[in-house]
């Protein structure tokens, strides 16, 4: 299978697999990423659709040495662990004030709003990478019938927890942010999980290689979950 290693400046390199979006290629990304976590020469990795970014210490290793290590990891790939990620359920209140564009998406797809909800929530999405914002998942596997063009001009502020569709993609905005996606719902669950040490670790409840399933909830359930989350 085709792969390439290219430098990203003097302290990182990119491992590039065949450049297309497929589960098979992404499994290789996740397998390599997982192997690299145990390599003492690796400082940090960022897995993406079809590539893995690898930071290393250029004072300790040359580029050629790092490339050699990467190729060795890949040649030992047959003996790797299982990398089937976990499935995380994200409750979503669809439509209404939480999803102002649900009706547009339905009309565009020539479907009813409840059919859109069924199609959107009735499947698992693979998380290909996190980027754009902390915890923002790039998901694959949306029903092609739900494909909807982005807004002609982006909203200046999208509330945290918004679930949207942009072209062929769907995702969650973990932070308030400007954005051009069509908003179909909102989750009361922050995808950023806080560990017991205050202020220290705040990593997402999911990572690249995991899956997400959206579960429809009512506005009442949304508000009660929000109250619970805010502790009042």
């Amino acid at each position: 299978m085709w792969m390439n290693v290219r430098p990203c400046g003097d302290q990182a390199l990119m491992v590039m697999f065949e450049q297309r979006i497929s589960e098979e290629i992404h499994q290789r990304v996740i397998r390599l990423d997982s192997m690299l976590q145990d390599d003492p020469a690796v400082l940090e990795t960022v897995p993406a659709y079809a590539s893995v970014l690898v930071y290393y210490d250029p004072l300790a290793y040359t580029y050629a040495e790092m490339e050699g290590r990467i190729r060795k990891h890949l040649s030992e790939e047959t003996s790797v662990r299982e990398t089937d990620g976990k499935c995380v359920v994200i409750p979503v209140c669809y439509g209404g004030e939480h999803g102002p564009d649900l009706s547009f998406v339905a009309a565009h797809a020539n479907l009813t709003e409840s059919e859109v909800i069924q199609l959107h929530s009735g499947r698992e999405y693979r998380i290909y990478m996190l980027g754009f914002l902390p915890g923002f998942p790039y998901l694959g596997g949306m029903d092609p019938r739900l494909e909807t063009p982005r807004l002609p001009s982006p909203r200046t502020m999208i509330p945290a927890g918004s679930v949207g569709i942009g072209g062929m993609q769907t995702g969650i905005y973990p932070f308030p942010s400007p954005g051009g996606w069509r908003l179909i719902g909102q989750t009361p669950v922050s995808p950023l999980f806080r560990h017991s040490v205050p202020g220290e670790e705040k990593v997402p409840v999911y990572q690249a290689g995991d899956r997400i399933r959206f579960e429809p909830i009512s506005p009442e359930e949304y508000h009660s979950m929000m109250r619970e989350r805010d502790g009042c």
Binding site: R6, P7, C8, G9, D10, Q11, A12, L13, M14, M16, Q19, R20, I21, D33, L43, E44, T45, V46, P47, A48, Y49, A50, S51, L53, Y55, P58, L59, T62, Y63, A64, M129, L130, G131, F132, L133, P134, G135, F136, Y138, F175, G199, E200, E201, K202, V203, P204, Q207, A208
Partner: protein, 324 residues
């Protein structure tokens, strides 16, 4: 004890060596744009990066007025500016002791863009995800996740320890002070390692990229330095989004380069013709909109030789200070 902000600044934030290890979750690294100036400011105060004393204040274009509530050892580096301590001129690139209640006025940058203030022990705010750097885009880290403004009070260590006796220090003008300094060249040539998408570009595009002279665009900021100049041919095919590093040179669909700076997003979909080497990012970080830069390619091997040489200079500088 504290440093109090007595005025507003256009953009003043807490920055350190960056939020490292969580780009896989989408967290930006952030950190000082001119990492060298920040590092030298820390060295002048006797701070240790390994001990988490690397948080400084980064000012863009203009400084501000600050009051020290207790005796405080500090140093200012980066862009050239006037410093007044209780209305008495004091030098940059040297550690100084402010007495309790004294007011430091940091003027506007005369050449360069970014000014750094370090205090003994570092700015002692609680780290978020292992870093005190401010991510203003995500309202995270630093001082309440935002830029500093009038009335803010930053916790710093007391200067009562014996350290203050062995200091102050001045930045040496002779070796080992030969670390590449800002503002020395009118049109600095930034060295770029080709990749990761250099193979998507034509040979002609690569040649033009190195021949052009680019102007820093007015919409440049801590996220990216947008360059203006002659365009280069872009690859015909779209690429699949992939990770970005600081220094990545994206070529926009219009054929102009954008150099990713400290606050860059972790992933992006524009092809990257190369990466500005670590040692040249401080040079770019001090360039203002309207000023010019050029690029030249170096191999990754050459880049790593330069990096090791520069790190050895820092080591030498550290030892020079330690021997005083």
């Amino acid at each position: 004890m504290a440093v109090e902000f007595l005025s507003d600044s256009p953009l003043a934030t807490i920055q350190d060596t960056g939020r490292i290890g969580c780009a896989r979750y989408g967290y930006r690294r952030c950190g000082a744009c001119d990492a060298w100036a920040a590092r030298i400011a820390g060295l002048l105060c006797g701070n240790e990066i390994q001990s988490g004393q690397d948080a400084v204040i980064e000012f863009t274009l203009r400084g501000g007025s600050l009051r020290f509530t207790e005796n405080t050892l500090f140093a200012v580096t980066g862009a050239d500016c006037d410093l007044l301590l209780d209305d008495v001129a004091v030098p940059m690139h040297q550690s100084l002791i402010a007495q309790a209640g004294q007011i430091l006025k940091i003027g506007a940058a005369k050449t360069g863009l970014r000014i750094y203030l370090a205090v003994r022990g570092g700015i002692a705010l609680a780290p978020v995800m292992g870093s005190r750097s401010t991510d203003t885009g995500c309202c995270l880290g630093g001082y309440e996740g935002r830029k500093l403004r009038m009335g803010d009070s930053l916790p710093v260590q007391s200067c009562s320890s014996g350290h203050c006796q062995t200091l102050p220090r001045a930045f040496p003008t002779s070796p080992p002070g030969r670390v590449r300094w800002v503002g020395t060249e009118k049109i600095p040539v930034l060295r770029v390692v080709p990749g990761p998408q250099d193979e998507l570009f034509s040979e002609e595009a690569g040649q033009l990229f190195c021949r052009n002279i680019y102007e820093i665009g007015s919409d440049s900021n801590r996220m990216g330095c947008r360059l203006v100049g002659a365009t280069i041919p872009v690859p015909s095919e779209d690429m699949i989004s992939d990770p970005i590093v600081e220094g990545s040179v994206q070529i926009s669909s219009g054929g102009l380069p954008i150099v990713m700076m400290a606050d860059h997003q972790t992933t992006g979909g524009y092809p990257k013709i190369g990466t500005v080497i670590h040692s040249d990012l401080p040079v770019l970080a001090q360039k203002r909109p309207g000023e010019r830069v050029a690029f030249s390619f170096v191999t990754v091997e050459e880049a790593q030789v330069i990096r090791r040489r520069d790190e050895a200079m820092f080591k030498e500088l550290e030892q020079w200070f330690a021997g005083r």
